[in-house]
Symmetry: C2
Subunit: 104 residues, 2 copies
DNA sequence: GATATATATGAACACGTGTTCATGCGAGTG
DNA sequence: CACTCGCATGAACACGTGTTCATATATATC
């Protein structure tokens, strides 16, 4: 299916989305590009923290950056990321009996 | 978009997929249900480790378990998980100039 | 029922990582 | 050109978490 390196690389993407604040940053950019300041105030996080996270998300191409005047706006780079998030949200809200058990 | 609790819950799902061994376990079950023993030998991991990971994945409904004879087989529970993985893989292999930079 | 096989669980350790505080940098503006 | 605003970076700490070793459970088979 996937070799070890690919798996590690893919896991790295998921790991980035696996931190609440970071995921919040990504999802907040789903509707419209947001400036760093906007993200900071909407999520009530320190500006430093947001910047640290944005750097990682940008590097992984989970967000893309673009300057508009003084500010830098972040947005979702492609449809795969968007659809992936959609699917995961659907999985989350999907009704489910907690058949955690072996018997299904 | 998503409230804080939903974001945390969703992040938890991604966090689980964000560990290479765990992601390997999930993706190895993409094609066909696999027994714990099969997973253990294919990924060359300790049986204990695999079981620990399976427990978490099962609880998060990223995998479902079913007994067949002596063994327990794990498989992907629904289409959302499968599609989500597909999208993420496509995002991974997507050609990209490393425009990590602000200028796009 | 006893033994073996397949999987699950618990405790403990080593390590990575999210966060903060302080500071640096660069583009726009007067 | 100096100044400021918006964002980025670096160091350091506190905490969570993946892994292993040892052991427990449960389902088949004899």
């Amino acid at each position: 299916m996937l070799n070890a390196d690919q798996t590690t690389e893919l896991a790295e993407l998921f790991r980035l989305l696996g931190e609440p604040n970071r995921l919040g940053i990504v999802t907040s950019c789903l509707d419209e590009p947001l400036s760093v300041g906007e993200i900071t105030s909407r999520l009530s996080l320190s500006q430093s923290l947001v910047s640290h996270h944005l750097r990682l998300l940008r590097a992984a191409r989970l967000l893309k950056a673009g300057r508009r005047g003084k500010q830098i706006f972040y947005s979702i780079p492609d449809c795969h990321v968007r659809e992936m998030l959609t699917n995961m949200i659907e999985h989350l809200i999907e009704p489910h009996e907690q058949d955690d058990d072996i018997n299904a």
